[in-house]
Amino acid sequence: MITLDNVGKRFGDRVVLRDISLTLARGEFSILLGPSGSGKTLLLAILAGLETPSTGRVLIDEFDVTHVAPERRPVTMVFQRHALFPHLTVFENIAFSLRARHLPGSRVRERVEELIAWIDLQEYAYARPDVLSGGQCQRVAFARALASDAEVVLFDEPLSSLDKELKVSLMADLKRLHRMQRFTALYVTHDLDEASALGEQVYQIEAGRVIPCALR
């Protein structure tokens, strides 16, 4: 369970987020809707530990992680522009987190091959990201995030730059991966179709506050 307790963020005099309280249940896929510049990505950065809130606390399973470094939180993120490591192959990108945690080589290989099979990119396993399409890169980013075994996966508009057909296919992939792994997800978007297709819970960010939102 992940909880935001009265989280606020200001830059100088400008208040971007104010008194946000939100609880995401374990294994739930939640959506955060909001227009560009509303602070959605900033909220994800606070959850991930990339930004520190000006006020309030972030709790994961009732532990206060507000000032815990990103690498020590059970949280990972899929970025809008996938942020794959350009010098590493698909295999190495997915293996990155496993190797960073010094898992045995056989375990790394087994897990990476399993994830590559899930995203159906076996023929590109030893290719670098620069030869992949946008959709393939995003699938690698999903697999890489899952390889981190994080309890919470944050998605920062991962499909925003893709065409509609590809979006539909990747949303199906994402739902399938979520069914298999049951990670807690917070998915940020401004697209109502994505929100209604993926979300079990939908929230909206408006004037720096987060409110529940009913789409169906």
């Binding site: 991930a48 942020a83 490591f85 350009p86 987190s97 960073a100 890489r144 981190s148």
Partner: protein
């Protein structure tokens, strides 16, 4: 107006290239006989060897010490950062003689560090280690600048992604930052090495000019030219210029092929 501007720019480029070529042609045009004679008398090879050894040591030290410094300057904000940056850049702007005198005072047997080192039997004055120290001091900023620019150019989302994949900062440094700043490190190493090879003022102040021990190529050029042996000085200058020319050409070719590979 555009045509006149273009003519002016192209003309100035050609003029500057001619100026540099004209100034250097006397160094590059050395008669084979002069070169053969200088190499045959056996005095030039040890000088070349000392220059290569010490400058490579200085450049390797710059990689070891300069890479973490460049990383901190590129990725951290801290109190008095501008002052630290200026301080680390100072050896570039400082007259080499001033740098040499500062080092001499620091490592001389009566100096704060030289005194301590002297007690444990390590002397830096008039030694090859002194040359390395002087070259390292003067050339380090070139390496730091190149690597810092390369690290700054890495998109912030990549180290952030590494942290969110549970990689420690040290793991990210070695597996993301270093590989992605490889070009900057190579060009920084070459710039640092060529600067160290050409270092004269600080080297002469700290290590003097003991033939076969502390005589580097630039020091040899100076001593031989001032002694009236222009042929021998010319041969030493030719060696230095050829090394610099080929190193820079190789660097450009490597980067050019890397760029075309990426475009492909």
């Amino acid at each position: 107006m555009t045509k006149a501007f273009n003519v002016l720019c192209v003309g100035l480029t050609a003029l500057m290239a001619l100026f540099v070529a004209g100034a250097l042609c006397n160094v590059f045009v050395v008669s084979p006989m002069t070169l053969k004679k200088a190499l045959a008398d056996g005095s030039l090879l040890p000088v070349l060897g000392i220059s290569l050894q010490t400058s490579l040591c200085a450049a390797v030290l710059a990689v070891l010490f300069g890479t973490p410094v460049a990383y901190v300057l590129a990725r951290r904000d801290f109190f008095a950062k501008t002052a630290v940056e200026t301080l680390l850049d100072l050896p570039v702007a400082l007259p080499p003689m001033v740098a040499g005198l500062a080092l001499l005072l620091l490592v001389s047997p009566t100096g704060p560090i030289g005194g301590t080192l002297n007690k444990i039997g390590i002397g830096l004055i008039f030694t090859k280690a002194g040359i390395v120290l002087a070259q390292f001091f003067v050339a380090l900023p070139f390496y730091i600048r190149a690597v810092r620019s390369a690290i700054t150019a890495i998109p912030p989302s990549l180290p952030a992604a590494a942290a969110l994949l549970r990689a420690s900062e040290a793991y990210t440094f070695f597996h993301v930052i270093i590989p992605l700043s490889r070009e900057g490190m190579v060009s920084g190493f070459v710039m640092c090495w060529t600067r160290a090879m050409g270092e004269f003022g600080a080297t002469a102040m700290v290590a003097g000019c003991i033939p076969g021990v502390t005589e580097t190529l630039p020091v040899a050029i100076y001593t031989r030219a001032t002694a009236g042996d222009l042929a021998s000085a010319g041969a030493a200058a030719f060696c230095l210029a050829v090394i610099s020319f080929f190193t820079l050409t190789l660097l450009r070719l490597v980067f050019k092929s890397e760029t075309s590979r990426r475009k492909a």
